[in-house]
Each structure stands twice: as structure tokens, then as C-alpha cells.
């Protein structure tokens, strides 16, 4: 996360389908590596399945992309969203599925998309999740992470940061936002059943959202990859 300072030449060329497939690849690896931690977080305030759920989902998504390689970025994310919906179940399946599906839809059929296109599309994805799940920032869910991450991503791009830098900043914001869920009392999802006993624990969906943002940043041209 430190050696990505150079403003990469290819940046303006836009992000192609390979970039998005690489993101999902990296996300799947991150989820696999962090599966047990996510499940442990879900044990404390949920039902001990979040790591397993996402691992199943991203494994399936990666396999689907390989089995039927999509032609353009939007198609890739729609396919990921559909696969997550069909394979995850639980709360996170429809919610993450909606993020990807809506983001993909917003990207349309372009062969390459700009980072700004992506930021706008992710905002669409987030709107979809908020509508579906009804959560606001502060309810201790994945929304707590997506919201500031997209804000930072958008703001840094507006400041003419490189894609890699903007995503790096967004991923840092996501990490911070995930940790910031610790003191909160959950108001949505299973953790809300615990009332005040949900305080003091990181939200598993917030933690996984931060992983996805980090994977995205690391995939960026000039990112860790």
C-alpha cells in the first residue's frame, strides 16, 4: 500500500474486464484467507457463518467468471452479483449480490470504464443495498464501510488523484470505518437482536466490505499487484 505512488500511464486508458476479474480473484483470495476471522466476528454478534458464506460465494463467483468469461466490465459485475445471490444465502448474499449487480448494471456495456464511472456505479450499488436492507450509516453494517469508502474514492478522483491513490485512500477509509463499527449498537441484521450486547464487537459485514475495498485498491494499476 506504499509503493503505488507513481501516476501510472495506463490510468487514463480506463479499467477493462480483466481488471474486474482480477479484483474478484483477489477478493476471493482475501475472503479465503480471512474466512475464519469473519466467522469469528459473526460468532460474537451473529450466527457464525459470515466467513463461510462469503467464501462459498466468492469461490462460486470466481468459478463462474472463469467458466463463462464476460465481455465487458458491467457484465462481469452483474455476473458476480447474480452468482452471489444464487450461492450465498443469508443476509449478505442478497446484499452483496445487489451491490455487484447494481454496480455492474450502472457500468453498462462499455469495454472500458473510467475510475469515475466506477465510483458513480458503486454509489448506485450502495443505493441498492440501502434500499433493499434499509440500513443507514451508523447501523453497524456493511453500509458503514461502503458509504465513506465511496465518498473518499469520489473525492480523491475529483482532486485528480490517480485511480490507485484514490482507491488506496478509499480502502484506508474502509478499514477505519470497519473498526469504527466496534463501539456501535447494531440496528440492522442479526446483531440487532443483541441490543447493547452488540457493542464492543466489529461488524462482520463491515469487516468483509473492507476486505473487498482493499482487494480493489491492490488490483488497481500501480496498486500492490
Amino acid at each position: 500500500m506504499s509503493d503505488s505512488e507513481a501516476h501510472v500511464a495506463g490510468d487514463e486508458a480506463g479499467l477493462d474486464v480483466g481488471f474486474f476479474m482480477a479484483w474478484i480473484d483477489r477478493a476471493a483470495e482475501a475472503v479465503a484467507a480471512e474466512k475464519d476471522r469473519l466467522t469469528r466476528l459473526d460468532s460474537a454478534i451473529g450466527d457464525s457463518d459470515h466467513g463461510t458464506n462469503l467464501h462459498r460465494g466468492f469461490t462460486a463467483a470466481r468459478a463462474a467468471l472463469q467458466a463463462k468469461p464476460p465481455q465487458y466490465p458491467g457484465a462481469a459485475l452483474v455476473q458476480v452479483g447474480m452468482t452471489l445471490i444464487s450461492s450465498v444465502g443469508g443476509a449478505s448474499g442478497p446484499l452483496y449480490g445487489t451491490v455487484f449487480r447494481r454496480t455492474g448494471k450502472a457500468l453498462g456495456e462499455a469495454e472500458k470504464v473510467s475510475a469515475r464511472d466506477l465510483a458513480g456505479a458503486l454509489a448506485d450499488g450502495l443505493a441498492g443495498v440501502r434500499k433493499l436492507g434499509g440500513a443507514s450509516v451508523g447501523d453497524k453494517t456493511m453500509v458503514d464501510v461502503f458509504t465513506p469508502a465511496i465518498d473518499v474514492f469520489t473525492a480523491r478522483l475529483a482532486d485528480d488523484a490517480s485511480t490507485a491513490d484514490a482507491l488506496e485512500a478509499a480502502a484506508d477509509a474502509a478499514d477505519a470505518a470497519a473498526l469504527a463499527t466496534i463501539p456501535l449498537r447494531a440496528r440492522k441484521g442479526r446483531a440487532s437482536y443483541l441490543g447493547e450486547r452488540s457493542e464492543g464487537h466489529e461488524d462482520p459485514g463491515a469487516a468483509s466490505a473492507a476486505l473487498l475495498w482493499r482487494a480493489l485498491a491492490d488490483t488497481a494499476p500501480g496498486g500492490a499487484r
Binding site: 466467522t39 451473529g46 450466527d47 462459498r56 450461492s87 450465498v88 443469508g90 437482536y193
Partner: protein, 331 residues
């Protein structure tokens, strides 16, 4: 963790295969993970339920004449996906529409909602009834709403009986809603449960501690309390339930004293006796009852109590014949 499984990944498929082998009256789609009656009834409203696995016999154990038409099995404690629900609904659709009975958890609600949309695209009418009977959770802006627990069995049985009589979709949905509105539950755990995938208990309790107000997913309850005799635990559950809904005015209830999975039947009968007494002292009579493991949480020790106000109509439907693996009476 020691469990009678081959692997955490295969537990749901393996159990479905076992269910298929054990119950020839059921058709089990192990691949698409749903269970349905081998024979349907033309023109009947089809009842479809489902949810995460780990609550057995709920739901697959309640598929059969007089109760569900199909049940979808998710991963352990994970709602099934819309594809399963769609496939199940299509398989049992008999032209009179589908009633989805959905326990109120974010995952279940969202997945069934997506399934209903997909089903609409296929031109099949459906209604969904949410079950949310657990008084341990406040139904407020600050929660995901009350959880669905024991009342699910009541709704499946009673709506199933009405559907069997040929009632239409709005009527079957209405009676399920009435059962839900008339039912309340409360659960107490003496210990945690362990999901096959996590491999470690969901929480830890001291030798003398219990969790009050638990759900059915191994999550901790609303608060921790010291262990107490069965009479006090039953009183705590009955008190929480009766404070929430006035069961005394009408006086007759159907009662479920439900084992969470690892509490032996002899203990559940001890609890039943105490629940019976606690209700009697409030002027409430149990007119029908079930005692046993019906809506479980894997290997959790503990129990829950569910009461449903019983009027003549509901009782008649309750008494109607039912032939499923886990519930069976009448001709």
C-alpha cells in the same frame, strides 16, 4: 468439535440424502436443495417454507399432507437462496398460488423477496407471511424486528390444514397471519451450539450461567443470568410471553415446549409441567400441546416456549390430519 458428519461442507447434502432415503413419501432434490411431497394436489394453494439448516425437523420434517408442500434447506443457519425457493415453488405450484412462510430474519426476508419477484416473472402468484413471534426482541426501528421461531410450526400446521381444505391464497395467508399475531415465544439456553463450519461454540457460558432470550441461531441472548431451577426458568419464559400478549382473557392456548436440540426429553417434560402450572396460575389452560425437539438450534441445550391463542377455528385446523416425518396425527 465432534459431530456425526462427513465434512462441514457436505452436511446439508448428506442429511438431505438421508431424508430422501428415509421418507419415500417425500421427493428430495438434493442438487437444488428442496424437499417436496411426492404427490401434489391439483388446485391447492401450495405452502413453501425454508430457512437455514440446523433447525431440524423444521422445515423439511413438516412437509407432507396437511402441512407444507415444499421446504428449502439453506446452509447451516444461512437462509436458502432465491433459486431454491423458485425451483421449489415451481415444482409444487398447483395453479392456486404459492404461500411463502418466512421466518423474520434479514436473510430469509431478502431471499424470499427476491424469489417472489422471480416467481412473478414466471407468472406464478405468491404471498409471503412473515413469522415474528419471539418476544425477546423488541420490534422497533432499532432492531431487525422480532425473530420467527416456534410459531412457524403453528403457522405451517394450521395454514397447511386450511390449504388442504381448498381455501384460496388470501384465506390461507390470512390464517397464517392470524396464527402469527396470536403467538409468542421465548427461549433460554443452558449452553451454546457449534456450527460444523465454525467448529467452535458460538459463545461461552460459565458453569452456573444461562442465556435468556436466545434465538435459534446460536447467537447469545438478551442477557445472561445465573442458572435456576426449571420452575423459575419456565416462569421466566411464561412471564415474558404473557407480559407481551394477553393470553388470559380468552384463556385457551396451544403450547409448544420445544427442546433446542441437546436437552433430553425427560427435562422437557419437567419444563412442560412447570409451564403448565405457571399458566394455570394465570388462568390459562393448555388445550393442545407439543413437547419435544421441533425448532432446534443444532446441539444447543435449552428450551423455548411458544403459546398460541386457541379459538375453535384454529383448534379445528390444528386437529386436522397431518402426515409428515415429524408431525403426524389424524386419519
Amino acid at each position: 468439535m465432534k459431530k456425526l458428519i462427513n465434512s462441514p461442507e457436505s452436511v446439508v447434502s448428506d442429511a438431505l440424502a438421508g431424508l430422501a432415503a428415509a421418507h419415500p413419501a417425500l421427493t428430495v432434490d438434493v442438487e437444488r436443495r428442496f424437499v417436496r411431497r411426492a404427490a401434489g394436489t391439483a388446485g391447492k394453494v401450495a405452502l413453501v417454507s425454508g430457512g437455514g439448516s440446523g433447525h431440524e425437523p423444521l422445515h423439511a420434517g413438516f412437509v407432507g399432507p396437511g402441512m407444507l408442500d415444499a421446504a428449502c434447506a439453506g446452509e447451516v443457519f444461512t437462509s436458502p437462496v432465491p433459486d431454491q425457493m423458485l425451483a421449489a415453488a415451481q415444482a409444487v405450484d398447483a395453479g392456486a398460488g404459492i404461500l411463502f412462510l418466512v421466518k423474520n430474519y434479514t436473510g430469509d426476508v431478502l431471499n424470499f423477496q427476491m424469489a417472489a419477484e422471480l416467481l412473478e416473472d414466471e407468472g406464478i402468484e405468491s404471498r409471503s407471511v412473515l413469522i415474528n413471534d419471539d418476544v425477546a426482541v423488541e420490534d422497533s426501528l432499532y432492531t431487525a424486528g422480532r425473530r420467527g421461531t416456534g410459531a412457524t410450526l403453528f403457522a405451517e400446521k394450521i395454514a397447511g390444514a386450511l390449504a388442504e381444505r381448498g381455501a384460496d391464497l388470501p384465506a390461507v395467508a390470512a390464517v397464517a397471519e392470524r396464527v402469527n399475531a396470536s403467538s409468542r415465544s421465548f427461549g433460554i439456553a443452558l449452553g451454546p451450539c457449534t456450527t460444523p463450519a465454525a467448529g467452535r461454540p458460538g459463545f461461552e457460558l460459565g458453569e452456573n450461567e444461562i442465556e435468556l432470550g436466545i434465538g435459534i441461531h446460536g447467537e447469545p441472548g438478551r442477557r445472561r443470568a445465573p442458572m435456576a431451577p426449571a420452575s423459575e426458568l419456565a416462569e421466566a419464559a411464561v412471564d415474558a410471553i404473557c407480559t407481551d400478549l394477553d393470553f388470559a382473557t380468552d384463556g385457551d392456548v396451544i403450547a409448544l415446549v420445544n427442546g433446542m436440540g441437546a436437552s433430553p426429553l425427560i427435562e422437557l417434560y419437567v419444563v412442560y409441567n412447570e409451564v403448565h402450572n405457571a399458566l394455570k396460575s394465570r388462568g390459562i389452560s393448555i388445550v393442545r400441546n407439543l413437547v419435544g425437539n421441533y425448532v432446534t438450534s443444532l446441539d444447543m441445550p435449552g428450551f423455548s416456549v411458544t403459546l398460541c391463542r386457541a379459538d375453535a377455528d384454529l383448534l379445528e385446523l390444528w386437529d386436522a390430519p397431518v402426515q409428515t416425518p415429524a408431525l403426524r396425527w389424524g386419519a
